[in-house]
Symmetry: C2
Subunit: 173 residues, 2 copies
């Protein structure tokens, strides 16, 4: 256990906040912890028969285009399931007849509070994409075995996407 | 593509920095991107016959104890392979006769530059753990099938750990 002694808000932005916390360790010593505070997010493993829906978009943090499963940040107080339906429609144009939660995970538990709720969506119907003003997203339907190959050769290098695809191979078969 | 227009350092800490960037979007509009800057890290999937080495430690960002594979942040300019050997020894007390890189991945590419380099370590020999002053880590050797079960029931909820265990099931068999 680490007992919180002091907490200072050192940055407050639109997407994230940063806290500098002081904690008391089990040996009684004091240590500092930098913590990125994030509202949490959803990611959606959308299955179209034996294909998976992947999106491709430019990511400024990586400085390149990335392959990802659809995902998005929770609005304040938003239910993760509603968020998953909303993001799936906005980013890909698909609605799912069946959508359920698989697991949740911390993306970087050493310093970040973000939890991603991973959903699996099935029985898809294509409507039209409704991206936000600052999103430019291409949508692809990729055979599952091809997606697995893209993990092995590291063409896919996004953590939530790797988890989604590998979960499907392990859990659903 | 997003063209960088302006970059402001809004927080500079020991582990992370935060930049507030302005970028020009493909439609010519300007948007802001909050970016957590992180040096990168390593994580090690250490195999002990049909067992995997897991550690358990309190994580302040989550407010609880977590199951994880051994991992750690790169020192400035450190080679990921050397870092992986160092962290494996420090956190678990094991040295590996064989250690090689599997893949790398971004933990939260929407806002964070952190890349984790995932290594697989085999032919382990147990020496003694050398944790840092602020680390309190318990080490366990867990059967692979048990670890997979802990992912499915969400007892394991750390992204790099889920990726490591699932990669092993998919890639190595």
């Amino acid at each position: 256990m680490e007992e919180l002694i002091k907490s200072e808000l050192v940055y407050s932005g639109k997407l994230i906040k940063v806290r500098l916390d002081e904690v008391k360790l089990p040996n009684g010593k004091i240590s500092k912890r930098e913590i990125v505070v994030h509202r949490g997010a959803v990611a959606i493993l959308a299955l179209d028969n034996n294909n998976i829906i992947l999106i491709r978009q430019y990511r400024h943090a990586a400085g390149k285009f990335m392959w990802e499963i659809p995902a998005g940040t929770l609005e304040e107080g938003e239910d993760p399931l509603e968020c998953a339906k909303r993001e799936l429609l906005e980013e890909t144009g698909y609605v799912a007849n069946k959508i359920e939660k698989l697991i949740q995970f911390y993306v970087a538990v050493g310093y970040c509070t973000e939890i991603i709720h991973l959903f699996i969506a099935r029985e898809l119907k294509k409507l039209s994409q409704k991206t936000e003003e600052d999103e430019f997203i291409n949508v692809y339907s990729i055979p599952i075995d091809k997606a697995l190959e893209m993990i092995k050769n590291n063409e896919i290098e996004d953590a939530k996407t790797i988890i989604g695809i590998l979960m499907m191979k392990n859990v659903l078969r």
